[in-house]
Every structure is written in C-alpha cells, then in structure tokens.
Symmetry: C2
C-alpha cells in the first residue's frame, strides 16, 4: 500500500538493502518490527518492495521520532542481526519531505 | 544496485506506485526513461524495486535538476501515458537527504 502521509513537511527514512543467502529468521523479525514500529510515537507509515534490491521507506513526524525508534532496544538487537546475518550491504538515508503530489485514477 | 550517492545534502524523489493491468509499452518506456534520466545534469543515481507496489527513488544534486527533468519533453509525454494507462495510483515525494550511513559486510 502507498502510505497515507499528512501534508509535508515530515520525514522519510529510505532503507535500501541487498540480502545475503542467510535468510533464517528474517521474515519473523520483519513482521515483529512492523508490529513494533507501527506503535511508535510519530510513525506515519511505511512502504516496502523487493526484487534484486529491497527498498523500505518509513515516514515520521520528526527527527526525534526517528531517533527514538533507532534507540528502541528490540529494534537495536534486530539491527545487529541484520549486520551479522541478513544484509550484505545497505544504505540508510534520512530525509525531509518538502513537497509531494499524488494521482489516483478515476478519482472524482 | 544501491546508488552510490555523494555525501549529504542532496535530493531524493520517492515515486511509489500501483500499476493497472494495462502494461502495454511500459517496459520499453521505462528503459528509455532510464537512458534519458541518466544523461540529465545533476542526476546522481536511482534505485527501484517492485512487488505489490513499486518504489523508485531517484537522487539529484538540486531541486533545480529535479525541475529540469520534470520539464523534459519526452519525460512529460511518458508521464501522461503513466496517468492514462499504466498507473492506478501513485505518490511523488520530493525530499532533502540530510544524513546517511551505510554498511557493507566484510569491508576492511
């Protein structure tokens, strides 16, 4: 689903990754993180797709909210496992969303 | 591939989309746009993945460079076709990348 974010400005974290072959436990962890992140204060939504690379974009009210999620204990543990097991390579970009527009076919 | 962007700040355009069933001509147009965009002044790289939704993130030196690409004639024609044929729904977010970090396994 396309995230229903409020009007700009708000923040986006673009997480781009290439996985290793070792996917053990990844799906469970990913579901658990989705459950946790959606309870975080200031979380606005998330979009995710993967083929050769994975792209996950999460949206946030503030930089503060992003920092709080980064410091979340269970999330920190899972990130460690990401580095040691699941990910070959990743990049994280913290962005301020300045403008946006959207299109919906047959929207009256 | 994960885009090898320079140090922040720079800009990102997050394009999130849901396609219709009518994919006629989409792949050709997509390849042609990739060829054109990579020749644009100020273009820094692109990342793309699709399953239920598609996410394409392009990176740019400046807002100016993003505007120039938006006004590119052939790109404008293709965007019209995107609205009339290929996309059911999309959202475009223009962002300033403020910070970034990366991980590469076994990087010495």
């Amino acid at each position: 689903m396309i995230a229903r974010t409020p009007h700009a400005p708000y923040y986006a974290v673009i997480f781009t990754s290439i996985m290793t072959e070792g996917e053990s436990g990844y799906n469970e962890a990913s579901e658990r993180m989705m459950e946790l992140v959606s309870q975080q204060e200031g979380f606005l939504g998330m979009e995710s797709a993967r083929n050769e690379i994975g792209i996950t974009v999460s949206y946030w009210e503030s930089i503060e909210a992003i920092k709080n999620w980064k410091m979340h204990m269970e999330h920190t543990e899972v990130r460690e496992k990401g580095r040691s097991v699941w990910y070959k390579n990743f990049k994280v970009r913290i962005c301020k969303v300045e403008r946006e527009y959207e299109f919906e076919k047959n929207k009256s």
